[in-house]
Amino acid sequence: MSALLEVRDLVVAYEGRDGRVRAVDGASLDVARGETMALVGESGSGKTSLGRAILRLVPAASGSVHFDGADVRGLAGDALRRFRRQAQVVFQDPLASLDPRMRVGDIVREGIDIHALAPRADANRRVARLLEEVGLRAEDAERLPHEFSGGERQRIAIARALAVEPEFLVLDEAVSALDVLVRRQVLDLLATLQAARGLTYLFIAHDLAVVERIATRVAVMQQGRIVECAPTAELFAAPASGAAQALLAAIPRIAW
């Protein structure tokens, strides 16, 4: 099995008020092409920092990240730009992650322009197609992000990420801010897109119930380390680590 993403002993440290805080403390992880790897853990376990360090949105202190054979930490110039096209991200709060001043069409089109993926006239058509692919209307390109509902905004964020035709998507708590019905719709959309485009997901979540539906494998994070990584069904049936057991116990179940 050739892994699309290989993370080895990654360390991400921040300068805190009381010295260096190791948000990610030697995490290792493999993600295979086409799978959905869920990354779960309690708040502060380092999930988001790991996701961002993989994408090089925050610098790593040590360790290595290889994407499609290339050393991500060593990328620069054109190679880094190419990586930015291949690996994209959807954040938790779409209102915060979309520039409030830009029209939706421009937000989605900017990536296409940066990477010169289509001539000007074609770009607008591609934007319209992308918006329709995520369940919005082509006319929505003229509106501003705040005019949409939470679920619609997350669809815009997904369209924006897909605009550069990436292979790999980090979904950083992408559905955590949505209510259950909308969450289900967006999860279905993500599954459809994955099947149609052969995408690989790193799905960061704090809630195992969401993960159960979508993930191929689950990695559990605790205090900056990956403490367990197993196929979803196995992990749900027999969680090995204390962290996984605690997270499973936290899923609300109705007692009959």
Binding site: L57, V89, D99, R101, G111, I114, H146
Partner: protein
């Protein structure tokens, strides 16, 4: 929207009325009058003094004089500037464009330079470029304009003779020069006064713009822009700046009155014959109508500038304007 315009207009009129009344009262409290230096010597008989004062209406009680002046104002008359032997409208008509030129150039240069400095500081946040520029802008805010003006005058003007130290045009046959040479001459004379004012503006704008940019740089959509593959300069200029410039523009509107106040000093120091110098001379000469007109016009300017900058700030930040 039309309602808002009417409200703003009423506010502006109220502000002008308060300012005019206060200035009139303050000036009445100050000792002397337009004839004090010319007539109040020991060798002028009291009857002569009284006659000259009566001729210009200074025998009337202050309240009545104010009512007369206000009534004339509603007819569009600003009165006669006795110290200049011309009508106030003529004096102001000459001086106002010169001040607008000085302040306009200083504002434009200062704003552009300030935003530029802030962009560089944001790009190199916490590195030496940021620290050096930060120290310079702090100095620009802390050192008073008149000191900078005197230093510039001494070194750039007197010692190195790079720029003229006073006036707004060369003497002699300068009036007969071709147009472009006269424009060049004007720019040359404008350099020091406008430069000193622009320095003060740039320092303030840079400090506020840097803070606003750094606040925006923490937003998720900046992270999104980086993830798209935009270069750091593009991230700052295309995503951070448009979201951070609104408050700075609004601040500029609020700072304009102090800029006009600063212009009074600068015009006095560099002998720039604009509204500031006119006001200064009028104060010394106790030229009441001219003082009132100058202060009133500065007030109107400040109110107008504030309204305009508010409108611009709303335009560049459509979210604020359209939500609710």
């Amino acid at each position: 929207m039309p309602r808002e315009i009417v409200t703003r207009l009423l506010h502006a009129i109220a502000v002008c009325a308060v300012v005019a009344t206060s200035v009139f009262v303050l000036i009445q409290c100050a000792p002397g009058d337009p004839f004090a230096t010319a007539l109040d010597g020991a060798d002028v008989p009291p009857s002569v003094r009284a006659e000259w004062r009566a001729r210009y209406g200074f025998d009337l009680p202050p309240g009545e004089r104010f009512v007369r002046w206000a009534a004339a104002l509603t007819r569009g008359e600003l009165g006669y500037a006795a110290s200049r032997h011309r009508t106030v409208a003529e004096v102001v008509g000459d001086a106002m464009p010169r001040t607008l030129l000085l302040v306009g150039v200083a504002l434009g240069l200062g704003f552009a330079a300030g935003v530029g400095i802030a962009l560089v500081q944001t790009r190199h946040h916490r590195r030496w470029q940021d620290r050096v520029l930060g120290a310079l802008t702090l100095g620009g805010v802390a050192v008073p304009e008149f000191l900078v003006a005197l230093l510039a005058m001494t070194w750039l003007g007197a010692r190195w003779r790079l720029f003229p130290v006073a006036g707004m045009g060369s003497l002699g046959d300068a009036g007969a020069w071709p147009l472009w040479e006269r424009i060049l001459d004007l720019v040359w004379h404008l350099a020091l006064p406008a430069g000193v004012l622009a320095l003060a503006v740039a320092s303030r704008v840079a400090r506020h713009q840097r803070a606003a940019l750094l606040a925006v740089m923490r937003e998720d959509y900046i992270r999104t822009a980086r993830a798209k593959g935009l270069g750091e300069w593009d991230v700052i200029v295309r995503h951070a700046l448009p979201n951070a410039i609104g408050p700075v523009i609004a601040l500029l509107g609020l700072a304009l009155p102090s800029l006009v106040g600063g212009a009074v000093l600068i015009e006095r120091i560099f002998g720039w014959p604009g509204m500031g110098l006119t006001l200064f001379d009028a104060l010394l000469a106790r030229d009441y109508p001219l003082i009132l007109a100058a202060v009133l016009l500065a007030t109107v300017l400040a109110v107008v500038a504030r309204t305009v900058t508010d409108a611009i700030a709303e335009y560049v930040a459509p979210r604020r304007a359209r939500e609710r």
